[in-house]
């Protein structure tokens, strides 16, 4: 019997519910404190903030549930354990910076899959992150703008009530600040266009894609961007025509998307950073002893990972122990494949021999 490295206690849903409540409560406290007791909180954005609190609950619940899976839990703790190792901490911090730049900022691993996919994903990801970096602090009352008391042409920005700086209306910085969400919307629309183009022409993608999982998120992002851009169009080109209706329509699309964050494809935004922890685990495995196949004697993986897998398998009730005392996990994948053919061969041979009275 393998020992359990990171045991869990209690019911999964109660545990997840607790983490969901912790996440939601933390956000409410963060909003209250960050907006200086709601003094900086904009009541017009309360529906967005409310949706974020619900979303935080869902994300806390789903993430905790995800970490209850034995393989996820093991890798999560192993990744942190290896990263925080005092002997290599500084080396790990530098390595984290490098892989964060390559995997999260540039998303190089997607580029190697396909340029079109990378282009779509890069614009979608950074468009959404840019929009999020603007709208979340605004909705929570962490950032606010006001005109200067002595000069109506000067705009001042505050974060948590602390003055960040000021800018004059009509300057490029003012234009960029007021239209940053339009820039983000255009970036996301470029990403949506490339993604739909690929999904509409790639026969492989078309055969496995699902409407709810693959197309709905794109449609939702498209709706947010278009309704958001309509607000700018209404203001500058239509003298504010239908502005209230359009702002409510935009709010509905954003709130629906926020509520969908813990489900389906959007959740990968929160899962994906686990890849960084895995990189440390892989590196530790490669630097440590290697496992050798009990059949061919060749190295086929890190001993650390093979032993961890046996633990995970035991927790999942996967019983690979052989009758001769060996463990099937100690056989390399290539020998497993050869073994299948040889086993079938032996079955035919023994049947043939018994028919001929030789067994």
């Amino acid at each position: 019997m393998q020992k359990r490295i990171f045991p869990t206690t209690g019911s999964d849903s109660a545990h997840a519910m607790t983490w969901g409540l912790i996440a939601a409560t933390s956000l409410v406290i963060g909003i209250f404190v960050g907006s200086r007791g709601l003094r900086d909180f904009d009541p017009a954005l309360v529906s967005y903030a409310g949706a974020c609190v619900f979303s935080a609950f869902g994300l806390g619940y789903r993430y905790a549930m995800w970490l209850r899976r034995p393989p996820t839990r093991l890798y999560w703790y192993r990744g942190w354990h290896i990263f925080l190792d005092r002997k290599h901490f500084m080396r790990n911090v530098f390595h984290l910076g490098r892989i964060f730049w390559n995997n999260i900022v540039l998303q190089r691993f997607i580029e190697r899959r396909s340029h079109k996919r990378w282009m779509a994903h890069w614009f979608l990801a950074w468009g959404c992150l840019l929009a999020g970096a603007v709208t979340f602090p605004l909705s929570f009352g962490w950032v606010r703008f006001e005109t200067s008391v002595d000069n109506q042409q000067i705009y001042r920005a505050f974060m948590f009530g602390i003055p960040l700086g000021s800018f004059r209306l009509g300057t490029w910085i003012a234009e960029l600040t007021f239209n940053i969400l339009d820039v983000a919307a255009v970036m996301v629309l470029i990403g949506v266009f490339f993604a739909l183009w690929r999904r509409g022409r790639d026969h492989g993608a078309m055969s496995v894609q699902q409407f709810s999982n693959d197309l709905t998120p794109l449609i939702m992002l498209f709706a947010i961007c278009v309704t958001g851009l309509f607000l700018t169009v209404s203001t500058h080109l239509m003298h504010g025509l239908y502005y209230i209706f359009l702002s409510q329509l935009h709010a509905i699309t954003v709130i629906l998307t926020l509520l969908c964050l813990p489900f389906g494809k959007f959740f990968h935004i929160f899962q994906r950073p686990a890849q960084l922890g895995l990189d440390f685990y892989k590196r530790a495995g490669a630097e440590g002893p290697q496992a050798k196949c009990i059949r061919c004697g060749q190295e086929y993986g890190a001993a650390l990972q093979i032993e961890d897998l046996k633990t995970v398998q035991a927790e999942l009730q996967i019983r690979f122990q052989m009758t001769d005392g060996s463990h099937y996990q100690d056989v390399c994948p290539q020998c497993r494949r050869k073994n299948l053919a040889l086993t079938q061969d032996a079955l035919w041979r023994s049947t043939d021999m018994s028919k001929r009275g030789l067994l």
């Binding site: 996820t72 026969h203 492989g204 990968h268 690979f320 122990q321 494949r337 299948l340 053919a341 086993t343």
Partner: protein
Amino acid sequence: MSEAAFFIDYSRCIGCEACVNACAECDTHRGTSMIHLETIDRRDSVQTAPQICMHCEDPICAQVCPADAIKKTPDGVVQSSLKPRCIGCSNCVLSCPFGVPKYMSGIDQMMKCDMCYDRSSVGKKPMCATVCPSGALTYTSMEEIQRTRQGIPVNSWKFGAEEVKTKVYVMVPREVTRVEIGLVQIHSTPSALPNDPYDVALMLEGME
């Protein structure tokens, strides 16, 4: 006539590699073959065997996946890892009892045979079964396979104490109801042999 199913008969393989090349034509993994074609014991025989995904009812690859990236379609086909989720840990590669998933280091992702889902989901044969000249890989009805073969198809396996049921069948003698996998040793292992630079079999073994 029952629904078409996939049947594998290792003993019929002639090592022509038609399946390997046809597999790469599939739209869901264009240019990359997902078939493993093993030369069983290169020094002593010409025996070869193809290996496709057996599409387990309760896939072990999916159970050990930390990212929850391996999903099964409603018709029982286990798909390649979901691209947004797969973190390239290779747990599936190391745990699959049939040794099927491949870790593609260039894209940091696991890929595997998905029974040519672009074809099989619309009633067409998977590419490998379309081109296999010897019937080692066959996609046909249960009645047809029983009419044309000596053995019977089974989809029940035992690896140690672990029982596995698969969507893909293997052809075995009529007396057999379940394939119990023991460790069939090979005569000589590359690591146990002296390093001989002129031994072509050994050299090719190392290149696999």
